[in-house]
Amino acid sequence: MLLCIENINVYYGNIQALHDVSLTVAKGEIVSLIGANGAGKSTILKAVSGILTPRSGRILLADKDLVGVSPHRIVRMGVSLVPEGRGIFANMTVRDNLEMGAFTRNSREEIEKSVAEVFSLFPQLRERASQSAGTLSGGEQQMLAIGRAMVAKPDVVLLDEPSMGLSPLLVRDIFLLIREINRAGTTILLVEQNAFMALSVAHRAYVLETGAIALTGIASELRQNAKVRAAYLGDVAE
């Protein structure tokens, strides 16, 4: 397993947000985390990326424990988070945002190559390269956020609610893109409110309820699961 979370317990102050959560992501997989608001999906990503430190449990990235490692080191170890709300540097240009994504890399030549790849993936970004990132539309900002994570050449990308605030058409684009990035060899752990999309794109998925894993399985099978359909896919009980 590339990423292996073992029994983590995470707290916000005295409130426990995650209870003994364990999950795995194999190299090359797309794994989705679905669940209601406040179930703890984002908390898992924050724990993996080092923003939150679990009180107990282990987070192994290819057998190296990430618990207690600071976020900037975790990035260097090959894990990039695309945060909820995108975390675009609105005071900088699109180009500078991408350069920030490449912060951990040194070879100018390779950075240019990665930036060019992002631009070919998102031609709109190339047109707006020297524009302030704050002026981009929501969809473009999301693309920039994903592109910025890709420039770091991560082994694992953690995506937090990439569809948030986007029109249905853009949501489709984003998911096609996630698949494309995955095909090119990047492992993806995806957190989504939009359970239908999340289950369509993923290989496997975990269902989170009030801070604990309630259900797990192959994504296509979960889509057929009656409980999942009722709770997350908007099926009316027959």
Partner: protein, 294 residues
């Protein structure tokens, strides 16, 4: 008219020195949202390093500047790591009170006989003063040095902030330090660097101030510190060009008030400006209030 132009030049001299201090205030505020009240005292330490390197060691001017820069940078990085870093996640008021404490500590500790001493000391002139008379307007080589050195510093700072990887990291941390960390930026390191950079400018400012107003004591940083802080607020705190602009306005108003009203009011004007800005445009001339985008 000549008198007025002369005052403008004197005001520029003062404004440029304030600018070097104000930049440190504004950069530190921009990155950790802390008014570092000890900054004026770092400036004082720069002036004393200038005093010793010129008087005791008789070093050339460039070496004097370098030693003030190094000394102040090390001091500020130490202050940041020992006093402010442990309070990074504490309420803002804790760091603010600590800043005042550090300021008082530096002022009184250095006034010990074993450190800089409690008296006023005359600051040696590192070069003979030459003044040029141009149609009745006097410009000294001291002023020329101040204009030149300050301009170089501001250009260098602008280059660091907008053209280097470190500068990009500074801007990222200032905007959103959590996300900056997610890009692989060592946030603590960037914060230390920012304190150091601000202090380096204050060190240069301290030496220039000593050359221009040749008397130093360990409390000399208090007033220029407050005025530079006002300048930073006036220009829009957190905004680099704003700090320079604010400092130039402060220098002019102070000089004009001394020239046309009475020098008794010269310190008062700074605080009148501060109060007016806070009342009518708390974001300052070039500052913008940040709106959160959801």
């Amino acid at each position: 008219m000549d008198y007025f132009v002369q005052q403008v030049i004197n005001g520029l001299q003062l404004g440029f020195v304030y600018a070097l201090i104000a930049l440190g205030y504004t950069m530190v505020y921009g990155i950790v949202r802390l008014i570092n009240f000890a900054h004026g005292d770092v400036f004082m330490v720069g002036a004393f390093i200038g005093l010793y390197t010129i008087e005791r060691f008789q070093w050339p001017l460039a070496a004097v500047f370098v030693s003030a820069v190094v000394g102040c940078t090390v001091l500020a990085v130490l202050i940041e790591q020992l006093a402010y870093r442990p309070l990074r996640h504490a309420p803002k008021i804790a760091s603010l009170i600590t800043a005042i404490g550090v300021s008082l500590f530096l002022e009184y500790f250095t006034s010990l006989r074993q450190v800089f001493g409690p008296h006023f000391y005359s600051f040696p002139r590192p070069f003979p003063v030459v003044s040029w008379n141009w149609h009745g307007i006097l410009v000294t080589n001291i002023q020329a040095v101040i204009f030149l050195v300050t301009t170089l510093c501001v250009l260098l700072l602008q280059f660091i902030v907008f053209r280097t990887k470190m500068g990009r990291a500074m801007r990222a941390v200032s905007f959103d330090y959590v996300t900056a960390g997610l890009m692989g930026v060592n946030v603590n390191m960037v914060i230390s660097f920012t304190f150091g950079l601000g202090a380096a400018l204050a060190g240069v400012g301290g030496v220039l101030y000593g050359i221009a107003y040749p008397q130093v004591n360990t409390f000399m940083g208090f007033m220029p510190g407050l005025k530079a802080f006002t300048a930073a607020v006036l220009g829009g705190i957190g905004n680099i060009p704003g700090a320079v602009l604010g400092a130039l306005i402060m220098g002019q108003s102070e000089t004009m008030v001394s020239a046309y009203l009475s020098s008794t009011y010269r310190d008062g004007i700074a605080f009148v400006i501060l109060i007016l800005v806070l009342l009518w445009k708390p974001t300052g001339i070039l500052g913008t209030s940040r709106t959160e985008k959801v």
